[in-house]
Amino acid sequence: MDEPNVRCLLDQMAQAEPPSSRVDVRLASRLGRRRLRWRRICASGASGLAAIALAGLLSSDLITSGPTGAVAAGTAKAQAGFSPFVPYASFGWLPVGFTADTTKVSPPVQTAQSTLVTAASMLTDQAFLLVVYPAGSCQMGPWGKFVSPMITQNFERRHHHAPPPYFQSCRAFNFSTGEGVGPVNGQVNGVDTYLGSGQVHGDLGNGGNYLTWEYAKGAWAQLQLTTTSSRDQGQDSGAWISGSAATAALLRVADRIRFGEGQPESFPFQITGMPTNQGLYSTSYAAYGARTLNTNLWLGLGPSAPENDIEISATPANKPATCAFVKGRSTRGTLDGARFTLTTMPVPDSYGAAVMEGWQQEELCGYTDHLQISILVAQNLLSRQRWPLTSAELSQYTAVTVLDHMMLLGPDPANWTTNPLG
């Protein structure tokens, strides 16, 4: 065999009648545009899906007072961003009956752009919600708005229009310029605080009074005392905190909050060697239970797939859980001994109403090395619709790619790592 023979045979092979094409030029344009947009956003210095995720949880409707001008900053050291694997803030003091319980209200959620920690009362349905932002991510605007330029940009990237007013600010409230401006409701570490009321966290709690203060230069925190149930259990008991006692409790809890003293969180897996075009760029985690027997890690992929929000959960388990198998949408497989089921579902739009055309949500459920694994990819746009998948096609799925690059560390927390991204 020589070069002319190879040329001849390749020509014959290339002349074979191809099957109908699945290549979608419009899809390529659409995805290409997204990537271009993402590159421009990165170039302008804005990043972070985690911030927008948290912002999506925040909503509020009322503020009763606000700042008149510059305020003094607290004594904590300002940080431009947090480590996503080290809880940045924790409660140093809580009223009697309250505990930093991670299951009753919410596990702590740590991102590079924010910290959420909660504490619930064991006696009543009240809870404290603390949200802390790094320096520069939120600021008092010139019109008394608590705004986040980054969140605004991220919203525009996703929805292609300016965010509505309720979304525009870090905690989505406006300091009204004409009313109630001026009163200061107390001091935390010598820093003025501003008292508002409304709903700080859309999914958690039913509103209530909250404090906002600048805990370090250019860095703001918010603490709310809310109720976790519409029945308001324990309202008649002596343990219920309301009125001026609520303001005093908020001030005292805020005064004792510890910033930047957290211990690194441990994870039962480490992700290494992701393809260079899918570099993990944004992380956050939520930890359940004491020293986390169930840890969720949220990731985003790099510029190649800016819409892929990934949630990874790994939980020690003695036997595998049942993984849902949807005929026509699920494929079972084994990757290096790890059995898994991959299922894709249509993705509803941000309002849960319509299904986003072409978008799929990937759900990978697997078990190996005494760990129950769950990998969710919130949005992924794939060209194929043919099931079941071939082994080569499986590699195109982000959830399977993540599993492929996960080093599992077993069920013993002593072997876990504080550096899940390798």
Binding site: L10, P18, G32
Partner: protein, 179 residues
């Protein structure tokens, strides 16, 4: 501007789609994967369309994206490590094939991706050694050695008769008169 860019891009890709698919098929020997490969490559092409349409040889630019996409994908060694339960049959494309082509196809699959890409670039895309080296990001000497190794491997694979498609049939040497 965006519409004009999109129109130009769509017009170019549509006119080259057949050629891109064939090249991708020769690289990965599977039409389904070939379409995925082309889909990924043209998405990258869109991102770099401003530069691509400005260069003198847009086709060469596009081909380079396609080949690099293939090489990046193959580096993972995915196919060797994943199995399915139960294994669904791969959809067979309606290919008007001949035995020699089947033999070559089976032999091509055994080649390392880089050697396969070298053969496709040199003998299907008709690139010179220097041009192939530019696409592959290596020296012309490497292209020459990869070509020689690939042809040698093909020759041995075809002569040994190990390729599954060859069993019970005549070899390509008998069909095409190659040694």
């Amino acid at each position: 501007l965006s519409t004009r860019r999109d129109d130009e891009f769509a017009e170019y890709v549509t006119s080259r789609l057949g050629s891109l698919r064939r090249t991708a098929y020769l690289l990965c020997q599977d039409w389904q994967r070939a379409d995925d490969l082309v889909q990924g490559a043209i998405t990258k092409l869109y991102v770099h369309w401003g530069r691509a349409r400005a260069v003198e040889r847009t086709d060469a630019y596009t081909r380079a994206i396609l080949v690099r996409e293939f090489l990046i994908e193959r580096r993972s060694g995915w196919a060797r490590r994943i199995t399915l339960h139960p294994g669904p049959p791969d959809e067979s494309a309606p290919v008007a094939d001949i035995e020699g082509v089947l033999d070559l196809r089976a032999a091509m699959v055994t080649l390392p991706p880089r050697q396969r890409a070298t053969l496709v670039l040199r003998f299907h895309c008709d690139l010179s050694v220097d041009q192939a080296a530019e696409v592959l990001g290596c020296s012309p000497g490497t292209v020459k050695s990869q070509t020689a190794k690939a042809i040698d491997s093909l020759r041995r694979a075809l002569e040994s008769g190990e390729s599954p498609s060859r069993a019970g049939r005549r070899g390509p040497a008998e069909i095409h008169g190659v040694k």
